[in-house]
Every structure is written in structure tokens, then in C-alpha cells.
């Protein structure tokens, strides 16, 4: 039973956990995130050619993102559930706006230029989709009926298609998986799941047909990177060399030659994992992956302790999607998955994904710290 919840009314001893809980911050999760982001900053210092300016910018983003996390943690989960339709609707409108007025960057329309800052509406959908699907499915008893399942799928497919059209296949797949995880957690029968997987596999050729040329190229490159060593295979080859040359214990911090002689592209963003692998070796990346796993497990624990089905579904989806991010990024840099441009969560340089991720953790903390005292 939740000893510390009962202890909250015992004023005799001061406790960090309790102090943080009063501002709706979950101490364990928070510590895990802080350790991860500190390690990230250290690696960024090395990957970014020891630029303190880069570090400072990242630090500012982290602070802003932590502030947003705190704000969201103080919103009651019921309010989130109530507003889920509005958030989702607004997100869809913004996605349409991007397709119509969007700002082009690197050949894809993903940004809305709001004068003060540029804004990527697909980031909203990363949280809006699991939020809405969880709210919708939890309205009725679980497991959901076929009809509700189909409505849930439609809720997932619409934003995924809009984002895939930008084109940003990586984000589209991540958003789809965050929604699908909710459906999976809601208890649909295994028959449906297996049927779905079979359908997906058989749909691969169709997907191939609708993919953009550069996306096809990435898949081909994955299968045989040496076919184009200076073109699209370059990323994967250089990344594998960086990782492989790291060995068991790595070359040491700031000593990675692949990274510092600038052979490794995008080394402070999407390929930062390769820098870690080169400088800290198998041992270092093992620790890092362990940390990711621990954070996700704490999230899953929060899900299991949640008091409503909505909260459980949402918390479960956020925690597991976080792991999907890690796996997709690491799979990409190790040559297991095609290059889709997904950053390593909370470590890669960049602000937008940082804000979304910490906002997600804010939701987890809100769910955990707003529980009513009652036996489960």
C-alpha cells in the first residue's frame, strides 16, 4: 500500500519525495530524467566540438522544457481527459495549416513560423493522439468493441497520414505507434493483434509503392550500405565505424576520432548515440540504455498504480512510446533500421522534441501525484 501517501499527513519528518509530491513532481522519475539529461549535456559538449554556446542553448531549452513539465504535472488528469478532444482537434487544424502555409526546411514542410519561434504541430500530436484514444476507449468498459476499435484506429490514422504527407515518415510512425500502444493496452484480443500484424506485413509492398524516392533509398541503403558509400550509405557506414571502433570501453570522453575529425554527420543530433558508443564503448552505451529502461519502467509502474483506466492507458502509452523512440534511434544508428531522422530522446541537440518528451513525463507525474487516497 502507498505508505508515502498516508505519510503525507504526517508532518514530523521532512522528505524530498514528499516535498516534490506537493508540487506534483515524482521524485524517482525526476531524478532519472536529470541524470539522463546531465549525461546528455556532457556528450553534447563532446559531439558539438566543445562549444559552450551550444551547451548553453541546450541548457536553456532543458530549463524551458522542465518548466513546461512542471506546469503540466499540476493539471489534474481528469482535466486532461476533458480537454482531449479539443487538443486533438486543434492539432489537426494546425497540421492542415502546415500543409497549406508551412515553412519548408530541408525539403519538408513541418514548421509553422509564428514570428517569435517556429513551431512543429506534429509535436502536439505526439501527445494528443494517445490522450484522445485513451480518453475515448476508457469511456466504455474495456476491452473495446469492434466499432470503438475502428473509431480509435481512425483517430490514429488521420494525423499519421497528414504528417506522412509533410513528409515526415519517422514522426508519423512514432505517432501511430503511440496510439496503437493504447489500443494494445486496452485489452483487445490477441486474435485481432495477430491478424493486424499479418495485414501490416502484407501491406508492405503497398507502402513501398507510396513511399518517396528518398525514403526508398534509405531502405535500400539499409539493406546494403556499401552500395553507395559516399551518398546515402555514408551516414550508416560512418556511424557503424564510430560505434565499432569504440570497443568495450571506448576511446574516452572528447577523444573520439570519428566524431572530432568530422566524419560522422549530424553528430550532435540524430547520430549522437554513435558518439557515445565511440567514446564510452559497449559499457557506456549499456549503462545509457539501462537508464532509459529504468525511466520507462518507472513510467510503467506509475501506469499500473493509476486509478482510472484512462490514466493507465495514457501513462502506459507514454512510457512505452519513450522506449520506442530509443529503439528506433539506436536501431537507426546501428544499421538495424532505416535512417528516419528520430533524435535520441533527451540527449540529442534540439528543443522541440525535448519539450514534448518532458511534457509527456509531466502527464505521468500528474497521474501519479493526483491519486486519491484509497485502496486500489
Amino acid at each position: 500500500m502507498n505508505r508515502h501517501l498516508i505519510d503525507r499527513h504526517n508532518p514530523q519528518r521532512w522528505s524530498l519525495t514528499r516535498a516534490l509530491a506537493t508540487i506534483h513532481i515524482d521524485a524517482l522519475l525526476f531524478m532519472g530524467l536529470l541524470i539522463l539529461m546531465s549525461a546528455g549535456l556532457m556528450i553534447l559538449y563532446s559531439a558539438g566540438d566543445q562549444s559552450t554556446a551550444l551547451m548553453m542553448r541546450q541548457l536553456v531549452r532543458i530549463s524551458a522544457a522542465l518548466f513546461i513539465m512542471l506546469l503540466i504535472a499540476n493539471i489534474h488528469p481528469d482535466r486532461m481527459r476533458d480537454s482531449s478532444y479539443w487538443v486533438y482537434g486543434a492539432g489537426i487544424l494546425l497540421l492542415l495549416a502546415v500543409l497549406i502555409f508551412g515553412h519548408e526546411g530541408k525539403g519538408a514542410q513541418r514548421w509553422l513560423d509564428l514570428k517569435v519561434f517556429r513551431f512543429q504541430p506534429s509535436e502536439i500530436m505526439k501527445l494528443a493522439v494517445p490522450l484522445l484514444v485513451a480518453a475515448y476507449l476508457a469511456e466504455r468498459p474495456l476491452a473495446p468493441s469492434i466499432g470503438r476499435l475502428i473509431v480509435g484506429l481512425v483517430m490514429i490514422i488521420i494525423p499519421s497520414l497528414l504528417i506522412a504527407k509533410q513528409p515526415d515518415l519517422g514522426t508519423a510512425l512514432l505517432i501511430a505507434s503511440s496510439g496503437l500502444i493504447v489500443i494494445f493496452l486496452s485489452g483487445i484480443s490477441w486474435k485481432i493483434i495477430i491478424g493486424f500484424l499479418v495485414a501490416c506485413t502484407s501491406a508492405l509492398p503497398v507502402l513501398w509503392y507510396v513511399m518517396h524516392d528518398y525514403q526508398k533509398q534509405r531502405v535500400l541503403t539499409l539493406l546494403n550500405p556499401e552500395s553507395d558509400p559516399l551518398g546515402s550509405g555514408y551516414h550508416i557506414i560512418q556511424s557503424k565505424i564510430a560505434i565499432g571502433s569504440g570497443g568495450l570501453f571506448g576511446r574516452g570522453w572528447l577523444e573520439g576520432t570519428q566524431s572530432h575529425l568530422a566524419f560522422l554527420p549530424e553528430r550532435s543530433t540524430d547520430f549522437i548515440f554513435s558518439v557515445i558508443a565511440e567514446e564510452f564503448g559497449l559499457f557506456g552505451v549499456g549503462l545509457l540504455l539501462m537508464l532509459y529502461l529504468l525511466i520507462a519502467v518507472r513510467g510503467v509502474y506509475i501506469a499500473s498504480q493509476a486509478q482510472t483506466s484512462f490514466a493507465r492507458l495514457l501513462a502506459g502509452s507514454i512510457s512505452l512510446t519513450f522506449l520506442v523512440y530509443v529503439f528506433v534511434n539506436v536501431g537507426m544508428v546501428t544499421g538495424l533500421l532505416p535512417v528516419v531522422g528520430v533524435p535520441l530522446p533527451l540527449v540529442s541537440y534540439g528543443g522541440t522534441s525535448m519539450v514534448t518528451l518532458l511534457a509527456g513525463f509531466g502527464i505521468l507525474m500528474s497521474i501519479h501525484t493526483h491519486r486519491r487516497m484509497m485502496s486500489p
Binding site: 493496452l185 485489452g187 565499432g244 559497449l282 502506459g316 529503439f327 546501428t334
Partner: protein, 617 residues
Amino acid sequence: MSTKFTLKDHFTEGCLINDRLIFSVLFACLLFLIIMVRLAILQVLEHEHFDSLADRNRVDILPIAPQRGLIYDRNGIVLAENIPSFSLEITPENVPDMAATLNELGQLFVVAESELDEIKQKIKKQRRFRQFVFRQRLTEQEVAKFSVNRHKLPGVDVVGRLIRHYPQGAFFAHTVGYVGRINERDQKAIDLQDYKGTEQIGKTGIEKQYEDLLHGTVGFQKIETNVQGRMIRELENSPAVSGKDLFLNLDVNLQYVAAKALGEFNGAVVAMDPKSGAVLAMVSKPDFDPNLFVTGISNKNYDALRDSVDMPLFNRTLRGRYPPGSTLKPFVALAGLELGVVSEQTQSFCPGWFQLPGQDHRYRCWKTHGHGQVDLKKSISQSCDVYFYDLANALGIEHLHSFLDLFDFGHKTGVDVPSESKGLSPSRAWKRSTRNQPWYPGETVISGIGQGFNQTTPVQLAHATAILAMRGVNVTPQIARATRASGQSELELIAKKVAENLPMENSRHWEAVIDSMVEVVHGTRGTARHIGKGISFKIAGKTGTAQVFGIKQDEKYDAELLAKKLHDHALFIAFAPADAPEIVVAVVVENGGSGSRIAAPVARKIIDQYMGVEPNE
């Protein structure tokens, strides 16, 4: 399945979701395991393979800096060149004890403790095998001193490289300008790729204006390096392309004469060929040694230049804004003729002062007792103020302003040196927008003699005088004449900027004004008659004296009593020969006092030099 009567069973639902969560975590662990296996394969099993790949994977690209183009005057005399210079460079990886070495160097070359610390920090930040420049431009004594102590300083070498040098020293400091170290602001303006390996960039003058031409194109050497990044062998080499040489219209001899003629005074001289717009001389005094800036000027030297009350760094020819004074009169007279306000014969009476109807204020003529009856010719040759007070008042400021516009007063002339000032040609709209005040009639009156708000730069004066000399043909002043690609012998002319000629048909008006200006120099009572002797051709000119200091009504200007800083500026514009002009000169002598006594002789010396007149006195 679901009906509205079904109650939510929290416990069952919780178990259902928890089962799925447990399954998910197990699945995640499986993925985690797969990734660890993949990493182990790459990092342990295939480590040797990738490690050797990483070692081989070291191709470095080194920039080869291009040689900067040279700058010549019109006679082919070098104004800017590249000379070898010795610098002291440290290769950190060859220095066993950096602190000791730096201390030793600090004692040898007298470097302050704080500066040594700074150097230490800089060395730490760069690659250990890249040379660090400790000191540039070693003198022979310093090279000798180093050689004697060399055994104590492993890893330190004397290296020769090319640096910019200005053999004419201060004479062209303002016009040719100088190069200096590339700073952050420069970096934003250039293609960094193209400046890899280049240490200097044009900062002012021609060096800045024609940076693109002078710089050249960077070359590259693709090399294979070892683990430390040191070269093993060369793979590819694309040589640098030297910058183009630049040939200017400036004439070294004329520049010397002009600078010398100004003597001890501060001021500016601009001489140009009115037919082509070629700028022949461009002098701004005081000047400074541009060589000081090339390898980074010391704080002491820079502070001295920056804080001097004479402002030697200030380019007066382009940025000095002086009231044109009476040198504006020929243009005002032309406005009067063109707009039909006066004719050549119109007479005006000068009692020594002018009054606006209904006002008490007296606008005084420089000649206290007045010029008596004055026509156009006399008004210019004897510089009668009252005639022009009257004329300006009759024209009105708007007409005057738009006429002066034609001569580019208040506009940049477009001369090919950066940061030219626009000067100021006042109008109602200007006063309203900048000061939010109405225009007063009295301000029109004093505009007629080039006082009040009027401000012109010396290059503007020369340009306007050139238009006048050419009877309306407008050529943009141009300093650079031609370029020459490295290794070529033929010159490539730089395209001239095309300007619109003035829309004035009546040649009689031009001649009337120019005749009056000839009278200034050659008339028996002309204000500059003392420079009109001993030449076979006619000079057209106009003196000007611009007030620096306001004098109260009924007070007299007394040079003796005023501090030199408050003396009037002396101005003179001239061109010669008057009927077929070949040279235009504009002279501004700061605090020179009188245009006729101080500024006019400067112009005469320049005209003599250019036209080949033998001085005979």
C-alpha cells in the same frame, strides 16, 4: 458486447491493462537484448575491423590561401603589395613543457603575464599539431635574439609568410584603406569556405570595396592523415587562384602634391577628371600608417589614433560634412537662371546687409559696407552674400532643394569606396521628418550662401563641380580603373557607373556661371585673383568660407580672438581649363580661415602639377 447497462469493473480492467503492461515490458527487454547483441557484435566481435577502418578513415582537407591582388596607381606605382614577413610560431605537440617555453618567450620578447595566460588558453583550444602564431613581423634583431636562444625553445620556429604592405605609408591610408584580421563581424559577411586559410580581409577603402576581386579563390589540398591528423601523403591538389591586381585612377604624384599643399592643416582634397569621372587624388588629413593595422594594431597605437582630437582615422573626403559656404553660390546662381528668377543682367543692390520684409533681423554680407550694384557676374566673382540672400528668398527652399538634387547634393555620389556620407541638402520635408519643426523663411535665406543646415562632403563638392565643368554631363567618380588577372598582361577595364545627364538645354546659362567663376580667378577684383597669374589657360573657381562658430548680430569675426578650432573652414572649388576642363579640384581646409587665402593656393598647386605648369615666381 458493450451495452449501456454494463458497469465499469475497475478491478478487472486494471488487471487487463496490467497484464498488457507486463507483456510490453518483457517485449521491451527483448528488444533491449537484441540491441545489446547488435552493439556487442559491432563493438566487440567486429571491433578490430572497424578500428582499422577508423584509422584509414582520415582524409583531411587543407586550405591553400590565395595571394591577394596588388594595387597600383595610374602610373603603375605600387600602393599595396605582399611582402614576406617572419613570425614566431609554436607547434604545441613539439613543446615538452609549455609553461616553461612561454615564460622563456615572455622574457625574450617582453610579454606581459596576463597576455601569456591568454596565449596559453588559446593554444589549449587548438589542435596540438597546428602552429600557433606567437608574434608577427619580427625585426631582424628579434630573429637574431631568437636564434641565439633557440636551443632553449624546442617546438618554436621562425616562419616566413606573406603579409600586406603599403609602401606609400600614410599617403593613401584613407583611400586605399587597409586589411586586418578577420573578425566575427567580417565572418558573417563572407563565405567562410572561401576564406579558409586567409587571415586578412579588406577593412576600409579600396581594400574593402574590391575585396572580392582582390582576395582570389582558395585552393585545397586533400591529404590522408594518421590518427593524430598529421599528413601522410597528398591525395589531391587544386591550387589557389590569386586575386586580381587592381589599377587605380589615382596619381601618386598628384596625391603627394595635394597632401603637401595642405601643409599642417587638417582637411581634404579631391581631384578628378570631369570627363571620365576618374578620381586623381583623394587626400584626407591628418592620416595614419595603414601598415599598423595589417597584423593587428596594438592597443596603445589604436587608442592614440582613436582618441586624437584631430581624428586621423576619420576619412574627411567621404564622411566629413562641411557647410559648403560660398562654393554653393554658382549652383544657386544656375538655379536662378534656369528657373527664370534672375537673368544675367538682373541687378541687385548690396548695402552690406539683407532683411526679409517685415523682420528686423539683418543678414550681413561679408563686406561690411556692401558691394553696391551687383549683377550675376559680380555676385559670384566678389562673392556678394546679399545677392544670394535675395535670390534664395525668391527661389524658395523647395525649388532650391530640388535643383541642388540634380547635382547630387544630399545624395551619395556613388564613388567606389565604402561608407560615403550623404551630406545634407535641407528641405521642408526633411526638417519636418527629422526635427518635427516648420521651415522658417530665414533658413532659406542663409541656404543661399551655403550656410544653415547645408552640409556637403569634399567628394560631393568635387562631383558637383565636375557636372558644372562639363555643362551638365554627369559622371560618377571612380577610383578603380582596371583589373588584371594574375599571370595575364592585358588589363580589364572596370565598368563605369552610368549616371543621367542634367536636363538643361540653355548653354548660355552654363557659360554665364562659368564665366563668373573664371572672373573669380582672373578678374581684377575676383576673390581668388592671386592664383590666376602665370598660366596660359583659364581656371574657373569659387572660394568659400564656412562658419564653424555662430557670431551674434553686430559682432565682428575676429580670428585673433578665437581659438583655432573655431576658425572658419576655408573652401575652394575649381576646374581648368575653363573652356575644356581636364581637372576638377575641391579643397576643404579645416579652420583655415579664408577660402581665398588658404584653400585656393592648394587647388592651384594641384592644377599646376596635373597640367604641367612650371612654377615661375
